[in-house]
């Protein structure tokens, strides 16, 4: 351990850092609450949209659509949802790690896939790794993210999928389990999974009668618009979830940083007091020695 002054300086520095981390912890806590509220607000829309699509699927029309059909995969789009800023513990790194492992396992070259990066961290990661990027500019994942913010990307991959440029769209994101745990998950966005829109109960009912809907202007054009909406909504739901995870991760990280700083300060104070005691002892022995010499 260094001199008393050095220790004092370190104590001060650590204390200031802990003040900052404590503030960040509290900010994240309130932002987490907001993010959770956003998820709750979004839920009715998802529910009704799913129900609407389920009713369409249940009616008498031919519901085959390219978005439901899986085909041989030549090119995949990976959507990475991360945060814009760091200091969120393993939040971003774990997404990259899972993604990297997945890519190493499933792909030989970088030309087999394209990355859509949501969030500054994902963008710079993809740039660093020299992956093909779907978006040229950074798409910031703001706390109050709207459809408009990532519309460019969603339009791109939906159009690309329908044209046959991309055959598969997979999303990597942090699923919010609770405040302490976030789990990296990957989920296929396209081709769309039919199963949530077909329930067994409906199958029974549909034996009795089929609902007749008027489609304005036609069934296929309704589906053509409805399905992209469903997909964008699913993606939006994931972004909201990732957002809640981000704040939770940052909250936990900042909490442990504050705790660590406190531990460190306690240790340093011990050292400081010991050094101070040493200095006093030396001074005392000097004085006593001097006094003895005079006598």
């Amino acid at each position: 351990m260094g001199s008393m002054r050095e220790i004092k300086q370190r104590i001060n520095a650590t204390d200031k850092t802990s003040q900052i981390t404590k503030a960040m912890h509290m900010v994240s806590a309130s932002k987490l609450k907001k993010a959770e509220r956003a998820i709750t607000n979004f839920r009715p829309l998802t529910k009704r949209l799913t129900a609407s699509l389920a009713r369409v699927m249940d009616s008498d029309i031919d519901i085959s659509h390219p978005m439901f059909e899986s085909r041989e995969v030549e090119k995949t789009v990976y959507i990475l949802i991360t945060s814009d800023r760091g200091l969120a513990g393993p939040y971003n790194a774990s997404v990259f790690k899972a993604f990297q492992a997945y890519v190493d396992k499933h792909h030989q070259s970088k030309d087999e896939f394209t990355v859509a990066a949501l969030g500054y961290k994902a963008f710079s990661f993809a740039k660093r790794k020299k992956y093909h990027l779907l978006n040229e500019d950074v798409i910031q994942v703001r706390d109050d993210i709207q459809f408009l913010d990532f519309q460019q990307v969603s339009d791109d991959f939906i159009k690309g999928y329908l044209k046959g440029t991309y055959d598969n769209v997979v999303v990597f994101y942090n699923k919010f389990v609770n405040t302490l745990t976030q789990k990296v998950k990957y989920q296929t966005l396209l081709p769309l999974d039919k199963s949530p829109f077909i329930t067994e109960k409906q199958e029974e009912e549909s034996l009795k009668y089929k609902r007749m809907y008027h489609y304005e202007p036609s069934a296929s054009s309704v589906l053509n618009q409805l399905l992209p909406m469903v997909i964008v909504n699913v993606l939006y739901g994931m972004i909201l979830e990732a957002k809640a995870s981000e704040h939770a991760a940052r909250m936990t990280a900042m909490k442990s940083a504050t705790d660590n700083a406190k531990d460190l300060i306690r240790d340093l104070k011990l050292h400081y007091n010991r050094a101070r005691q040493d200095a006093i002892t030396i001074e005392l022995t000097d004085i006593i020695g001097g006094a003895n010499a005079v006598n």
Binding site: N41, L148, H214, Q225
Partner: protein, 130 residues
Amino acid sequence: MKLTVITPSGVLYNEEVDYIVVSSKNNGDYAVLNNHAPIISTIDVGYIKMIKDTKQLFTVIINGVLEQQDNFINVIAQEAHVGLNKDSAMEHLNDVRKERLDENRQRTMDFLKAEKELKKSIKEAQASKR
């Protein structure tokens, strides 16, 4: 009949109406009156005119689905705004969208600038060598 408009941030509008007129770029105009047969339609950019007694309101919608059955109208919209007349409501929505995009661009620029400055000052302070 009952009309519900839902947006990502929650329920925007939930009221009793006499009838509605739906107008959209992709499908043109049509009205839905009481006891209409079940209908599903989409709106890319358009509006819904809602009439109750003598009053009327407009909901401008971008990317939405309209579904009517048993006199319940369910509108799911990605973006919507309620106004007293369609032009001002549309204008408002467009302004908000444009502002948002400009703001996003500005934020990205500010962010990159701040990041650059941070890197520079870290280098200058030689924090890594201490």
